[in-house]
Structures are given as C-alpha cells and as structure tokens.
C-alpha cells in the first residue's frame, strides 16, 4: 500500500478553535485553555483511505493578525485547506470569506477547501445559520461540516471527506511504490507481446 503525504493547513480567525480541531483529530483530546498558536504548529496523522495511506501533514496556523502575512508559507503546496469559523461569531464567518478569496487568488490551483463551523455545541449563542454557511460552501464547491472539537463531532469526518476529494495519483507523477509496480508490470506485458 502506498503512502501519500498530504499537506493540510488550517486557516481562520483567532479563537475559532483551529488548534482544538487538530488536537482532537490527532490526539483525541480537548483542552479548554489552549494557548494562542505562535506562527503555526505542526502535527501529523496517518489514516487509511482505500488503497492508500494518507499521512496528513497538518499546519495549524496562528489566527492572530500579526502572523497573517505568514499564511502563504502554509497554504503553499497544500492539498487541502480547512477554513474554520465560529458559529457563535458572525465576524469569523466574514473572515472566512476573505480566506476563500485569498486562496482563490494565491493558493494552489487544485486545493481542496473544507469549511468547518466550529463550536456547534453552543447552539444557544449561534450567530451564523447553518443553511447560510452550507449555501455559501456549495457555491464555492467546498466541503462543509459543522464541528465541535469539544464534543468530538464531525472532526474525523472532515478529514475523511478531504481524503475522498483528493484526486487519485496519476501515473505520470509517479515515484510511489504502489504505482511503480503496476507500471513495471505493464512494461513487462508489453515486452512479452513484442517477443
């Protein structure tokens, strides 16, 4: 089975729960008093998807404004971006739209975009209706889920959906063992046909 490294970055306003989502996904725990991220923090997790192992190289970026200019380093080369907003903060949803714009203009051309409306356990203070977010996500062909890092809702699901949307490897950018084998075999058969 082949191993693919997939760079994934998390973007979004400060305090929406980017690090908490990563922490839940990688270590399956939740710390309500997590500190603001500096620059970006990095974690990995490998999951199986069909015939491939997907090793997610997750760059969890800082939401604070002073680190804003560093974002290109993290979405550069990314296979997917998870843009997170807080369903209890309208403003964080506006920031999300700016991130979508920035990715559209400067991000990798085939980047898979996933939108996560985090803190969905706090329904009482909801400011962003689920339907609005869903409609917006559909309009830009993005994955959409509402999540709760605290209650472990839809966290693994985002990553599974990302795996599904990542285009399968084409033989031309090979170098991976699984594929190489197949190509070698076809070379073999061709040779035999020649003889």
């Amino acid at each position: 089975m082949s191993l693919r490294e997939l760079k994934v970055c998390l973007l979004g306003d400060t305090g929406v729960g980017k690090s908490s989502i990563v922490c839940r996904f990688v270590e399956d725990n939740f710390d309500p008093n997590i500190n603001p991220t500096i620059g970006a923090s990095f974690m990995t997790k490998t999951v199986q998807y069909q015939n491939e192992h997907h090793k997610f190289l997750i760059w969890d970026t800082a939401g604070q404004e002073r680190f804003r200019a560093l974002a290109p380093m993290y979405y550069r080369g990314s296979a997917a971006a998870i843009i997170v907003y807080d369903i209890t903060k309208e403003e964080s949803f506006l920031t999300l739209k700016n991130w979508v714009k920035e990715l559209h203009q400067h991000g990798p051309p085939n980047i898979v975009v996933a939108i996560a409306g985090n803190k969905c356990d706090l329904t009482d203070s909801r400011e962003v209706p689920e339907k609005d977010a869903k409609d917006y996500a559909d309009s830009i062909h993005a994955i959409f889920v509402e999540t709760s890092a605290k209650n472990a809702i839809n966290i693994n699901e985002i990553f599974t959906e990302i795996s599904q949307k990542i285009p399968l490897l084409v033989t031309s950018d090979s170098g991976l063992k699984g594929l190489k084998l197949r190509r070698d075999q076809s070379d073999l058969t061709r040779e035999r046909a020649c003889c």
């Binding site: 191993l3 490294e5 760079k7 970055c9 922490c23 270590e27 710390d31 997590i34 500190n35 603001p36 500096i38 620059g39 970006a40 923090s41 990095f42 974690m43 990995t44 190289l57 760059w59 800082a62 002073r66 680190f67 200019a69 560093l70 380093m73 993290y74 550069r76 080369g77 950018d173 090979s174 170098g175 991976l176 063992k177």
Partner: protein, 601 residues
C-alpha cells in the same frame, strides 16, 4: 509612525513569549515520538521551553548596516540569548562580505569564531549526550561557534545608501553546514519580506523539533515545510549513510537532505584540482594554509572542503572559513615574529595578500572559467604572489611526500569532458580522499590496537593494567609488512609522511581520542571482571575496615561508569549495584545506614 509600529511588535513579542512558556508544557512535541530523542526513559519530557531550540542553535541574529554605527546586531532571537560584546563584534564583522566586491543579490556563507571564555551552560550535560554517538567530525564544537549567514544586498532607492544590506545569521555549535544553509534558504527570504513575526514563528518551530540525536531519521517542520534528515553516527560505515528519498514529493511539502554536512568537494576544488593530493597532505599535516577567494561564499566552502578532505580523521587545529582583519585573532595569526600557526584561514580582503605574504602555502581562487583550468597544472612559486591580481593556483614550495596519482586526475578530467554531473564527480573525489585517508590511518589503528594489554592481564583485584606507550620507531617497523602499500597503490615517501604526521596536531588529537577510548575499554573490562568475582566469599576473609573500603571503591567505579558511559556489557552495572547492596547488608546496622546514603547529590 514607523517607530511606533515596531514598538508595538516588540511588546506583542514579549507577550507571546510569556504565553509560549505555558504552551510548551501542555502540548506534546510535534512529530511522532519514534523520531524523537533517545526514547527509552530519557528525560525528554523534562525539557523546558527553549531547551530543544538550544540543542540546535545558540541564537539567531539579524545584522544590518547603520550609516553612523556601521555594522550592528539589530536583533537577537530568542531575546534572552546571551552573547558577550566581543562575540557580538565578531558576529557583526563576519556576517558581511569584507570588501564591496559585487555580492549583489543573495549570498550564503559560513564563519567560525572563538567562544568567550568561562561560559557555562546548564544544558551542557544534556547536549553532550547526543555527541556520544556522533562521528568525531560532527561533534559539537567545544570552544567555537559557527555562524551560518544569509546575506542580502539589493538596490533600494528609498534608503540613504541606495542599497538594502542585511544578514540573517544562525549561531550554533553544530558543524552541520549543509543543513543550516538549507534551513536558512527557507527562513531568510521569508524573514526579509515579513520581518519579526517570521523569526518568532521559525524559533517556535525549532523549539518543537526532536533533539539532534545521531542515527535517527528526524522530521523537522519549519515554515510550512518538513525537512527530513539523518545525523550520521560513529558506527556508520564511512562513505555510506546517505539518506535517499524513497518517494518523489513536492518541495513545498517536504524536503529530504541527503547530507547534513558534506560540501561539494569537486566544485570547491575545481579551480585547483590538479593539486588535490598535495592539498590533502597539507591538511593532514596541519600546515598553515590560507585560501584567498573573491567572496566569503567561496572562501568558506573551500576551507570546509579542505577540512573535510581528511575525514574520517578530524582536523584538530583551528580553521576559519571566513576570516577578516577585524577578527579578534587577527594579530595572533598574522604576526611575523613567530612561524605561521597550524590553521586554515579563508580570506577575501586583498589586504591579506600582503599581510600573509610570508605564509608557506597559499591557495588563490579567482573567478575561474573552465578554459583557464588546464593552465593551472604547475605549482606556483611563492615569490610570484606579490600583487593583488596574481593568478589563481596553489603557491607553495612544498614537495609532496607521495607520488602524484594521475589516475584520479584523468578520471575527473574525463568527467569534465563528458559533462558528468557534478554530484557524480563529487562522489568520485570524496571516495578517493576516503580511501587515501583510510590507507594512511589503518596501519596506525593496527599499531595502536596492539598497545592494549592482553585480556588475561586484567585482574579484578589489581588496578586495570596500563596501555603500552606509543613508540615511534616500533610503529615505523610495522610499516614494512603492514603499511599503506596493502591498501593503496600510491608510491612515495610514506615513512616521511608518517614522521611528519606524528608531529602534527591532527595526530595528537587522534591519538588522545583513541587513548581515551582504550582506557575506557580497559576500565570496562576491569569492571566486568569484578562483577564475575564472588565478593561475599572475599569479604569474609577481610576486616570490616577493608570491606567498607571495598564498598566505597565499588561505588566510585559505578559512578564513573555511569558518568563516562563506559562500554560495559548489558546488565553489568545492575549486577555491580546488587553486589554493593548485598555487601552492605552483611555489615553491622550502623554502617549500613551510612553506606546506603545515595551517592549522588
């Protein structure tokens, strides 16, 4: 307006640091644990914030040019890092090209400077731990710092001088030149664009790295990219241990470094490649050598290539990949009242052509074009080196001990004609040097091994036997039958070369290290012999005072073994501890109380 902005940044930075302290304690390291440190019960988890950073780097400096002050260290990161005024001075001068010779654009080079005396690091012991398995050439540099520089000079009409000139400098005790240059390539361009938050992010990344432990494949996330590398160990077979990329991947996602320290020998020696074998002798013998190059990049690469051409031997004298007239050792090294010291200097300032005129061996590297190379076959006479515009080449009166090996020259020349890739040429040259050095060193290894006392002379009840002394004439006698002729087809005055080498600092360093290893081996064998004895039976025949004495001695042995990490067999130390405990138990109770006190504070 602008100054207000920067103050704000400074404030925020402090805040961020404070929060960061807590951060590190609560969040586990970034990469998967197997890649991390020595693993088995090592106190990795006890590391404090910035300890991981300190295992890799001393600090990061930004050196700029101020119209009134000249070069100045503008930023030191992390802010708590300590550098003496003298060290800062050195960093200032060494981080900029010496003369305004057109280093336009981005340039990378490296320098090395003496560490101010009397500094003690609380981390010392923890850091030494990693060094134990590293090859001698890759151990932490005890008395020096390396500076790895990324210098940018671009036109900027908005500035008074019309130029933007700045260096980002990594200060470290680790000689991983290729690694640090790759790291700078990732950090520096981003820093020049995005300023301080970028440094903050980079340092924060580095402080989450696994510690630099030899032999493990390390994944080091930095600025959105994962660097993968392996620090070689002293157990690797020389000439192997290259990390190869198993899967092709995107360089924006991860990069694999095939080597952390090797420079491209062929590229560095290309301008003087007819003389490589002579250069090898000069370096081996620790001769005073100066490289005059047009830029710090070329001087530092060439000096590092020279130092590394005798690997796996360690070059034991001082070397300065880039040396300037402002260096604190300038007077010491250039004085005419004494013979030139055993050092290798890399210089770019034309002034040195005069200052170091009396030096015995001078390598001049110019902006050489391929067509000019063929003319450099002859060694040049020193008296011809008077003017600044002297031609590239090696200026010396030295007569090599060994006959010239034409085969390697032909092989490399053929490679040039056939446009063989530089990496292949480099590999050929590296292999050549390795075989030459090994042919030279094997007879010495063999002789030194014979200085070890016989196993049967080791007795538990006598102090460990002494090593036999190194007798030069005895060693010379062994060369007749078991000399380098067994592994090298090179002819020449090998005996003369050995005689000269035995007087050199490189031999001294090598022999000291071997001696230390062998004495430790003897101590270890002695300890093992002790463990095999029936101590209970022995103490029955002795008085109480003698028994107490024995316990104290055994305890000393145990602490020594642990401190020096003696190469004892598995379980030996545990066995010794059991012995000690059972002897103590056989003593009267009042003595037991005293002796059971833990030995360590």
């Amino acid at each position: 307006m602008a100054s207000q902005g920067s103050e704000e940044i400074a404030e925020q930075t402090e805040e961020a640091e404070a929060t960061h302290d807590g951060d590190c304690l609560s969040i586990s390291p970034a990469e998967e644990m197997p890649a991390d440190g020595p693993g088995d019960g090592e106190p990795e988890q006890l590391l404090l914030p910035w300890d991981r950073f300190s295992a890799w780097l001393h600090c990061i400096c930004v050196v700029g040019f101020d119209l009134e002050l000249g070069q100045a260290v503008e930023v030191i990161y992390p802010h708590h890092s300590k550098l003496t005024e003298k060290e800062k001075m050195s960093i200032c001068y060494l981080s900029f090209p010496d003369s305004n010779s057109g280093c336009l654009g981005d340039t990378q080079f490296c320098f090395r400077f003496r560490q101010a005396a009397g500094r003690k690091s609380s981390l010392g012991c923890f850091l030494d731990h990693f060094d134990r398995d590293a090859p001698v050439c890759l151990k932490r540099d005890q008395g020096h710092f390396y500076g790895y520089v990324y210098f940018r000079q671009v036109r900027d009409k908005t500035l008074k001088r019309g130029y933007f000139q700045k260096s980002l400098v990594l200060i470290s005790k680790l000689p991983y030149v290729t690694f640090f240059h790759s790291l700078l390539k990732l950090i520096a361009p981003e820093y020049f664009e995005k300023q301080e938050p970028c440094l903050e992010a980079a340092c924060n990344d580095i402080d989450r790295w696994p510690t630099p432990y030899p032999g493990k494949i390390l994944s080091l996330p930095i600025m959105g990219v994962v660097m993968k590398l392996r620090i070689p160990t002293c157990y690797d077979k020389p000439g192997t241990s290259q990390l190869v990329q198993s899967t092709s991947s995107d360089s924006l996602v991860s990069v694999v470094l095939p080597t952390i320290h090797e420079v491209d020998l062929f590229r560095c020696f290309y301008p003087v490649f007819f003389h490589i074998q002579m250069l090898w002798e000069l370096v081996l013998l620790g001769e005073a050598l100066v490289v005059m190059a047009p830029s710090p990049a070329e001087s530092s690469d060439t000096v590092l290539a020279l130092v590394s051409c005798i690997a796996p031997l360690r070059y034991c004298s001082d070397f300065r990949p880039y040396f300037t007239i402002h260096d604190s050792e300038f007077k010491e090294y250039t004085t005419r009242t004494q013979a030139p010291p055993s050092v290798i200097l890399g210089v770019t300032n034309p002034f040195f052509a005069k200052t170091l005129q009396h030096w015995p061996h001078i390598i001049r590297i110019g902006d050489m074009k391929q067509t000019e190379m063929a003319k450099q076959m002859k060694v040049k006479k020193l008296k011809n080196l008077k003017t600044l515009d002297s031609k590239p080449g090696v200026y010396t009166a030295y007569k090599p001990f060994l006959n010239k090996d034409d085969d390697i020259i032909k092989q490399l020349q053929k490679g040039v004609q056939q446009k063989r890739p530089s990496e292949a040429q480099n590999a050929i040259l590296r292999r050549y040097f390795l075989e030459l050095t090994q042919s030279f060193i094997i007879p010495l290894e063999r002789y030194v091994a014979s200085l070890m006392p016989l196993q049967k002379s080791i007795s538990a009840w006598k102090s460990p036997p002494h090593l036999k002394p190194f007798v030069q004439e005895e060693f010379m006698k062994t060369l007749e039958k078991a000399g380098p002729q067994l592994t090298s087809r090179l002819k020449g005055d090998w005996i003369g070369l050995y005689r000269q080498f035995l007087k050199s600092p490189n031999f001294d360093g090598w022999f000291r290290n071997r001696r230390k290893e062998m004495i430790q081996k003897l101590e270890a064998l002695h300890l093992e012999a002790l463990c095999e004895e029936d101590l209970q039976q022995r103490i029955q025949k002795h008085t109480e005072v003698e028994t107490v004495d024995l316990v104290l001695k055994l305890k000393d042995k145990l602490t020594q073994a642990e401190r020096e990490k003696l190469p004892v067999g598995a379980g030996t130390l545990a066995k010794l501890q059991t012995h000690i405990d059972s002897i103590i138990l056989s003593l009267p109770e009042d003595l037991q109380g005293i002796l059971h006190k833990p030995a360590t504070p």
